[in-house]
């Protein structure tokens, strides 16, 4: 389980989040939605323990599998060596990863779909590939909680599709509490059970996707009229998709 | 600025001209060229002298026959005074300030000015940075050069002139000349293969430093007395290692008198140096410390040469060093040196057991 309980964070006189409570039990996936500057990142940092709380408390296991947007290290490590870093918490400060840890790291790379570049240097990979390696590292921690920071932000449509598929495969066994932030409500529709909407005025909305991802709430959230459309899927089933009202209007 | 310099140089020219033309009229004024070829002009004989140059402090005392004119000196000169005989001959030397310069000859201009000197003796050939502060403070600087016996005689003569005792220098220079010629005459007969290799250790305790032949006064008198500088291949005073000394394997080792804690046991207790010919034959000697340390050129240099000569070529040179020292100390300092004084200067207690050292024992 991961979440916050009546959490408040202030930067000086500005209150970023106030009395925020939500929790993600093992087996469920939460999408945090909202435009920039509403405290998405602060909420994420608070959950991970990087952001001290002015009030309330954090609910989290001792190690959380964290997937940053981009690995910022300028050090040249192989992807496998990056993935095996996920084992650090189990090894202690003087510990060294053994064959078992490498096996875990390797299967994590497989799970993240990154096994094919296990021996490539991390800093030579594309942004999308790096993200997969970082995901593998988070999986290798063995934590029941995974937190992804804007996983789709830097991806083109093709890679977005792959990422969402991957998130769903991770979600399927229902053995992890997964949290990700995103700008796009469609990501929540396709890969999350719950959503947390960082509403204007500091009153976030938390609940199952079906109740929270509605045109009305989204209109509140983004400040533009929104539409929900029904689309036919490849095998005849129907999908819901969310679009801003300006979508599809042709330029005159 | 320009006009001032022009004025000043015109003034100097006029002064030197008047000095040349009218001896009587400007009798008090003293003008000469120092060893950097600068004109030094004193309104009258210098009464208050500061020597930033280390060995010149005791030389000024010797030239004047007293301490009255020395008002400031280098701390290294002061330590020689305190460790050596001068503080006994002239107890008041203890009170002469030594804060006039930093260890690297950079003048401490406030302390220097406070001594109110009318002449400051400074090294030439070491750049303007150690000279400009003196002249900028409006003080008279006399620059001298290190290295050869001739330079030494010249700057001693110059100093003697500056303090208004030009007659004093003659007997000192004559003495130097006499002793040098005597040594040269006797050394001429020594064949090259009878010249022992000698090594002067300029520093021992922090690192080992020794000196090449070119420009080194120590090497000059070691060769004067019939020795060969073991470290001739070096250029200037540089750091070496013990392995190099083992390779040279000198027959005689002279240790500097600068390091108070250094004595011959430094060689005898060392696993490498104790295996050199010098150590095996007990021919290791620390330079004496008299009115000044005998290593560099100073007023007592002829004594240093005779001491070195007797030790380097004992079959050729048989100077009665004790008698020479008694005469010299009477002449230089008007002091009747005692046998105990001489024992102290020559380190009889510390190195009386060295080879050929019994000759220096009191009879």
């Amino acid at each position: 389980m991961i979440g916050l309980d009546s959490a408040t964070v202030r930067f000086g006189s500005r209150t970023i989040i106030e009395g925020l409570s939500f929790s993600v039990p093992v087996g469920r996936t939460l999408a945090i939605l909202g435009p920039n500057g509403r405290g998405k990142t602060t909420t994420l940092k608070a959950m991970l323990g990087f952001q001290p709380l002015d009030a309330g408390r954090r609910i989290a296991p001792s190690i959380v599998g964290y997937v940053p947007q981009t690995g910022t290290s300028n050090q040249r490590y192989r992807a496998l060596d990056v993935a095996v870093m996920g084992r650090a918490a189990h090894l202690g400060i003087f510990g060294q990863p053994g064959p078992e840890d490498f096996a875990i790291a390797h299967s994590a790379l497989e799970r993240a779909g990154a096994a094919r570049f296990a021996d490539h240097y991390f800093d030579r990979l594309s942004g999308g590939e790096r993200q997969l390696v970082l995901l593998a590292r988070a999986i290798a921690t063995g934590s029941e909680a995974l937190v992804l920071d804007e996983p789709a932000a830097a991806l083109d449509l093709h890679n977005q599709e792959r990422l969402l598929t991957l998130l769903n495969t991770l979600r399927q066994p229902r053995d992890k509490a997964i949290v990700f932030t995103t700008h796009d409500p469609n990501h929540a529709l396709s890969s999350a059970d719950d959503a947390l909407l960082m509403m204007p005025g500091g009153q976030p909305l938390f609940g199952p996707v079906a109740e929270t991802i509605t045109p009305q709430h989204l209109e509140n959230l983004y400040g533009v009229p929104m539409r929900v459309v029904e689309l036919a899927g490849p095998s005849g089933e129907t999908h819901q998709a969310v679009l801003p009202a300006f979508a599809g209007i042709r330029a005159a | 600025m320009v006009s001032l310099t022009r004025f000043a140089s015109r003034g100097l020219l006029a002064a030197s001209l008047s000095g040349l033309l009218a001896h009587g009229a400007a009798a008090q004024e003293i003008t000469f060229k120092d060893q950097e070829n600068r004109e030094v002009k004193l309104a009258k004989a210098a009464e208050r002298i500061v020597s930033i140059v280390i060995p010149m402090a005791s030389t000024v005392i010797a030239l004047d026959g007293g301490t009255k004119k020395l008002v400031g000196m280098n701390p290294t000169a002061k330590s020689a005074v305190l460790e050596g005989i001068l503080s006994k001959i002239f107890p008041e030397t203890k009170d002469i300030p030594s804060d006039v310069t930093a260890p690297n000859f950079v003048p401490n201009i406030e302390a220097l000015t406070a001594t109110n000197p009318d002449l400051v003796i400074q090294w030439g050939g070491r750049g303007n940075d150690i000279v400009a502060p003196i002249t900028n403070a409006g003080l008279n600087a006399m620059l001298i050069l290190y290295g050869t016996e001739q330079l030494t005689r010249d700057y001693m003569t110059m100093t003697s002139k500056a303090i208004g005792k030009p007659e004093r220098i003659k007997e000192l220079v004559d003495w130097r000349d006499r002793v040098q010629k005597d040594i040269e005459a006797k050394a001429k007969a020594i064949p090259d293969d009878k010249k022992p290799s000698t090594l002067y250790i300029a520093r021992a305790l922090s690192e080992i430093a020794t000196t090449g032949t070119k420009g080194s006064y120590n090497a000059w008198y070691m060769e004067l007395v019939g020795g060969r500088n073991a470290s001739a291949e070096l250029n200037g005073t540089v750091t070496i290692n013990k392995e190099q000394i083992a390779q040279w394997d000198p027959e005689i080792i002279f240790l500097n008198a600068f390091e108070a804690k250094l004595d011959v046991n430094w060689v005898y207790n060392d696993p490498i140096l104790s295996l050199t010919k010098a150590a095996k034959n007990k021919r290791v000697y620390k330079m004496p410390l008299g009115g000044y340390r005998w290593d560099p050129p100073n007023q007592e240099s002829p004594l240093a040469w005779m001491w070195t000569a007797n030790l380097t070529q004992p079959d050729v040179f048989k100077y009665d060093l004790r008698a020479e020292m008694k005469t010299a100390y009477k002449t230089l300092y008007n002091y009747d040196i005692t046998d105990a004084d001489i024992d102290g200067i020559l380190w009889m207690k510390e190195q009386g057991g060295s080879a050929n050292y019994a000759q220096f024992k009191a009879k």
Partner: protein
């Protein structure tokens, strides 16, 4: 398959480095200003290694086993320690351009040493003083750079600069008041950095700090990979980044303090060797640290052998390390910023 190639390459590189070191070590024992035939020197090395307590009577025995051997061993230990410290420091700072001088350790240690020499201290008390003042410099850097409970890299580096200047000013002051005949030349010479005065005694004084500090850093090699990551990432992986970073600094202070105490300040090794090692084995500290140790030891031995054999006079170590190090550093600087502006 690829992994096997990686392993094969690492094995090759390490064998090469070890062979280079072994050759440098043995050759260094065989050459010097005193002529000892190489075969005789090898025989003496063998005798010394098999029967270390034997009586050394002849000059060539003493030259090889009492002058060269401790000097070569000390140079190897110092080079290894400096390179290791540099590699670890560059890891935790995520910056290949920092070196042990940056934390003020070298200047802090220099202060302790200069003070010790002035007070006439020698041996273990001196090394303790050097170590403690090096450590004090690190603590001072820590206190200055710690703002709101944590230290930003740039503040640490700037604080290191401040503390360094402060300590070097105090060292200058000590030189000013030191006795020009005794302690001043000792301080000046020692600050220049040299192994010329190496003895077994000195080597044994420096060895524990170098070996223990080095062993702990070696044990931290995987942790250094973690600490080389972005702050948040490292924390998310369970690292107490601030505390562990200072622990690394402390170990480096032990190593550099021990080295400085016996052989003065030696520049460039801590920056050039880790860089060369990175080119050879990559950035992973599990390979980088041992590669830096072996290369640093070998490089230092070669440099010092040049210093003591090239001419009758000892060439100051700093001259050679700077001549070799500065151009490499310039190249490194350009590459570093070119890569940055490129990506």
């Amino acid at each position: 398959m690829v992994r096997r190639a990686h392993l094969a390459r690492q094995t090759l590189v390490f064998s090469g480095l070890l062979a280079l070191f072994a050759v440098a070590f043995v050759v260094s024992l065989c050459v010097g200003r005193f002529a000892v035939p190489p075969t005789r020197a090898l025989e003496l090395i063998w005798l010394g290694a098999t029967d270390p307590w034997r009586e050394l009577a002849t000059i060539d025995e003493r030259i090889v086993l009492l002058v060269r051997a401790p000097r070569v061993v000390l140079a190897a230990l110092a080079g290894a320690g400096l390179a290791l410290s540099g590699a670890a420091l560059q890891g935790v700072f995520r910056n290949p351009l920092v070196s042990p001088d940056i934390l003020g350790i070298s200047q802090g240690a220099a202060f302790g040493g200069a003070l010790g020499i002035m007070l006439g201290i020698w041996g273990f008390p001196l090394i303790s003083m050097v170590f403690l003042s090096g450590m004090a410099a690190v603590v001072l850097v820590g206190l200055i750079s710690r703002i709101n409970g944590r230290s930003e890299t740039i503040t640490v580096i700037l604080s290191g600069l401040v503390v360094s200047s402060m300590f070097s000013a105090v060292v200058s002051l000590l030189q000013f008041v030191a006795d020009p005949n005794t302690s001043l030349p000792a301080i000046v010479y020692w600050l220049m950095g040299s192994f010329a005065t190496a003895t077994w005694e000195r080597t044994l004084i420096a060895a524990p700090g170098l070996i223990i500090g080095g062993a702990f850093l070696w044990m931290l090699r995987f942790r250094l990979n973690i600490l080389s990551l972005d702050e948040a990432e490292a924390q998310s992986l369970g690292a107490k980044t601030n505390r562990e970073r200072w622990m690394v600094f402390g170990l480096i202070a032990v190593i550099v303090g021990s080295q400085v105490a016996v052989s003065g300040i030696i520049g460039w090794i801590g920056i050039v060797i880790p860089h060369a090692s990175r080119l050879l084995v990559g950035h992973d500290h599990r390979a980088l640290l041992p590669a830096s140790v072996v290369l640093g030891a070998g490089f230092m031995v070669i440099i010092d052998t040049l210093a003591r054999t090239a001419t009758a006079a000892e060439i100051p170590l700093g001259v050679i390390t700077a001549l070799v190090g500065a151009p490499i550093f310039a190249m490194l600087l350009r590459n570093h910023y070119r890569e940055r502006s490129g990506s």
